[in-house]
Amino acid sequence: MRISTPVYCLREALVSLLRNSWLTLASISIVTISLIILGCSLLLVMNIDYLAQQLESKLEISIFLEQDLESEEVRNIGSKIKSTTGVAEVKFVSKEKALEEMKKSLGDRAEILDSLEENPLPDAYRVKAEDANHVPALARSFEELEGVEMVRYGKGVVEKLLALTHWLRAAGFTLLGVLGLAAVFLIATTIRMSVFARRREISIMKLLGATNWYIRAPFLMEGLIMGLIGAVLAAGAVNLGYFALVNKVGQSLPFITLVTGEDVLVRVSGLLLALGFFIGIFGSFISIHRFLADKKT
């Protein structure tokens, strides 16, 4: 089997793409749109997973004490907490320390704290439970202690986040499936048009002894070009969008940490390109396959 030269393929493919320019445009757009949606849902799921992970690792109970307690009282509460069964570790965070930590996490923007006349933060105990399942019960018992202003823990949030990623993943993949099929279908239609426009040429090629691969190659190239252009556009949009988002969030919502690092975007882009490749090849293959099928063999 001898395959036609790349130059020949490329020329024929480009001519066909230009001839059906509207359909080509529609096909490329739908590939782009479906891959952008895929890219976004992937990044979203990755971030929520990351967030949930972070929260889970920090799963501890924060017990904020009332302001203006005597240090005696503070110590008292501390020993009560320590003696509660199921408590693994207790750490005291004084209001001064809490302010310092906040300054550290704000980084460059720490000067907004300088304007405070006094420290608004309460003293607190941070408790790690022996078993995460006991966290809600422990939290409730700490709430009843005298001198305790408020008890916080991240349990519900974590569960909700995990449920959300599950749901998002399902929705993202369903949407991708539907749009992916639409993309394959549109590419198949475009290819069918160009096969139809060249049906006479194809029938002559068959009579002259061209192999099916020789006939197929330009059409596969055509599908491939559409799929890859769509994928490149989608990858570009997702990259730029995410980059902008990371910047924006970093500026205005510094306490949210997004998954960053170039390898994340490289991986996502690589996946988008691979899918675009696959969609293009698959779309054109089904169109030509039906046309070239040798009868009764």
């Binding site: 040429e201 090629m205 068959k206 009868k295």
Partner: protein, 228 residues
């Protein structure tokens, strides 16, 4: 070189195009297939280049059983067969030279070989001076010369010509027949389906008459007229 053994062809729509046809064509033969439209001439030729499969019976070409051939072998079978059609089947957007070189390109011939072979074959059919014309710019007879050039540029073992003079005036038809004659003299087997009885009579070649899917006569250097 070609053997038909009890070949019957019934199309999917129930039409019986060939009925128990057996025949043998030797290398170097020049054979006319004659008979009314729909008699089965085209079906018989399509069996040889595997456009159609026999419903029953066997077709042998060049030592191969064509019905048993795998579909990926078909292109290589067709490269051994040159085809000439009544409607020429040239590509209108390609020039004369491009139409001919197309036949070589699809077989993966080298550029160097194509550059050499195309002018030579155009010279042989007398179309070298019109190499850069488009099919629409030349006459029917000239288009058929290009069609013949395309059929022989691969040096086929066999030429199948389906009504090659059907669209041409008698004078031009005679020139085309001379061309086929000279191709045959250089050793290529030719099978030609035609209605043109005057041509058949003047050529004094083997004539196979087909009617209703059956061979009703097969004569060496026969004449065509009386059955009509």
């Amino acid at each position: 070189m070609i053997h038909f053994y009890n070949v019957t062809k019934i199309y999917d729509n129930g039409v019986k195009a060939l009925s128990d046809v057996s025949l043998r064509i030797r290398k170097g033969d020049f054979v006319f297939l004659v008979g009314p439209s729909g008699a089965g001439k085209s079906t018989l030729m399509k069996m040889i280049y595997r456009e159609e499969l026999p419903t029953r019976g066997q077709v042998m070409f060049n030592g191969r059983n064509i019905a048993r051939m795998r579909s990926r072998e078909i292109p290589y079978l067709r490269r051994k067969i040159g085809m000439v059609f009544q409607d020429f089947r040239l590509l209108p957007q390609k020039t004369v030279a491009e139409n001919v070189s197309f036949a070589l390109e699809v077989t993966g011939a080298s550029r160097k070989y194509i550059r050499k072979a195309v002018p030579a074959v155009l010279q042989r059919v007398g179309m070298l001076d019109k190499a850069d014309c488009y099919p629409a710019q030349i006459s029917g007879g000239e288009q058929q010369r290009v069609g013949i050039a395309r059929a022989i540029v691969n040096n086929p073992l066999l030429i199948l010509a389906d009504e090659p003079t059907g669209n041409l005036d008698p004078e031009t038809a005679k020139d085309i027949m001379d061309l086929f004659n000279s191709i045959n003299r250089s050793g290529t087997t030719i099978i030609m389906a035609t209605h043109a009885w005057d041509i058949v009579e003047s050529m004094k070649r083997r004539v196979i008459r087909i009617s209703n899917g059956k061979i009703i006569s097969d004569e060496e250097s026969g004449v065509y007229g009386f059955a009509y």
